[in-house]
């Protein structure tokens, strides 16, 4: 059952997928459903002995291409809708113990090709308005499978956060005639205090208004609307900067750092997003220290106001040092 219910107070959809309660939860490594199927072994999701990168439809999807009209009709004030969409799992490697940070730059570069291919293919489906590529890493984030993987949600609507971002960018362009993200990036590069890593075509920084202590945004230096618009050199540089940032994250507290990684880019709803959409990646690690986590508590969840213990200038400095220490 996949259904959407409208929240008229916050004016956003909430998705329900009750079958997900039964999904596989932290199985032992020998029963990992994302590992290759070995001869004589139990059949996993991947019917091959080895693989490079694999994409498959999630067995427990939050959204489904065949979602039916919900039995619960709701009302004019609180309508419902089919939870239509596509949920894919992206397996980064057949090595169960690998992480994105431990992978070669070349493999990350190949993964970028896969992400771009999925963006184009899913975005071309008539009912898909937004292709959201993301990774939840680590038990602190709530992952149920340790095998290195990410996910893609192809939504039938533009989700509220990217929508708000696009609205801000459009308004900024109307007022100033320039791209909001390009101007933000330009300020970060010239200021330098929050810069974590600078490549030829991408730059990573802790934003001036970071909500998580070690939040990092990784921006394309050219105003490319989506990952699919990046040329070969830009994709190579993205792999390089990603690798450096991820290695720095793991060096920060000398542990494999849990994080959420999300990509924001142009919707695929047929609208004109040129000059408003600017491809970028955002990382939200939940650790404040090696042992302490940042929880979304009363102020963050109930009021929408993040309270942060460290200034972005200080965390960026620690991250820069960690990136240098890692030397990836």
């Amino acid at each position: 059952m996949n259904q959407l219910r409208w929240d008229p107070i916050l004016r956003e959809w909430v998705a329900y997928a009750t079958h997900r309660q039964d999904r596989t939860f932290l199985p032992p490594a020998e029963y990992c459903p994302l590992c290759p199927t070995k001869p004589g072994g139990f059949p996993t999701e991947v019917p091959r002995e080895h693989y490079d990168i694999v994409v498959f439809e999630n067995k427990f999807p939050s959204f489904s291409p065949d979602a039916l009209e919900p039995d619960e009709a709701g009302s004019d004030l609180t309508p419902t809708a089919p939870g239509r969409g596509v949920c894919e799992v992206v397996l980064y490697s057949d090595d169960h113990d690998a992480t994105l940070a431990s992978m070669s730059e070349r493999r990350i570069r190949n993964l970028i090709e896969v992400w771009a291919d999925r963006y184009v293919e899913l975005g071309s489906r008539e009912f898909v308005d937004y292709v959201f590529i993301f990774e939840n890493k680590g038990e602190a984030i709530g992952v149920t499978l340790h095998h290195p993987h990410g996910q893609i949600y192809a939504y039938s609507f533009v989700p509220p956060r990217p929508k708000r971002e696009l609205e801000s960018a459009r308004e900024y362009r109307r007022e100033h005639g320039r791209c909001l993200h390009c101007d933000l990036l330009s300020e970060e590069v010239s200021d330098g205090r929050r810069l974590v890593e600078k490549g030829e075509h991408f730059a990573a920084f802790v934003p001036f208004y970071a909500r998580f202590p070690y939040e990092v945004h990784l921006y394309a230096r050219r105003c490319a609307p989506s990952i699919a618009d990046l040329d070969g050199e830009e994709r190579r540089d993205l792999a390089h900067v990603l690798k450096r940032v991820l290695a720095g994250y793991d060096a920060l507290f000398d542990m494999s750092l849990p994080y959420m990684m999300v990509m924001h880019q142009a919707p695929t709803d047929g609208g004109d997003h040129e000059g408003a959409a600017h491809f970028h990646i955002e990382f939200y690690p939940v650790n404040r220290t090696a042992e302490k986590l940042k929880y979304l508590a009363g102020s963050e969840t109930g009021a929408g106001v993040f309270v942060v213990d460290d200034l972005p200038e200080a965390t960026a400095e620690k991250l820069r040092e960690a990136v240098e220490r890692a030397g990836a």
Partner: protein, 33 residues
């Protein structure tokens, strides 16, 4: 739109429960030069 990377091979299959699975194979197998 840039051309698809040289050396990337894509094969789509349908699983028993009709879900699709796509294998992306690369000539370099993700190893650095």
């Amino acid at each position: 739109m840039p051309d698809r990377t040289e050396g990337m091979h894509k094969q789509s299959l349908s699983k028993e429960d009709r879900r699709y699975i796509i294998f992306y194979d690369f000539d370099d197998e993700g190893e650095d030069d």
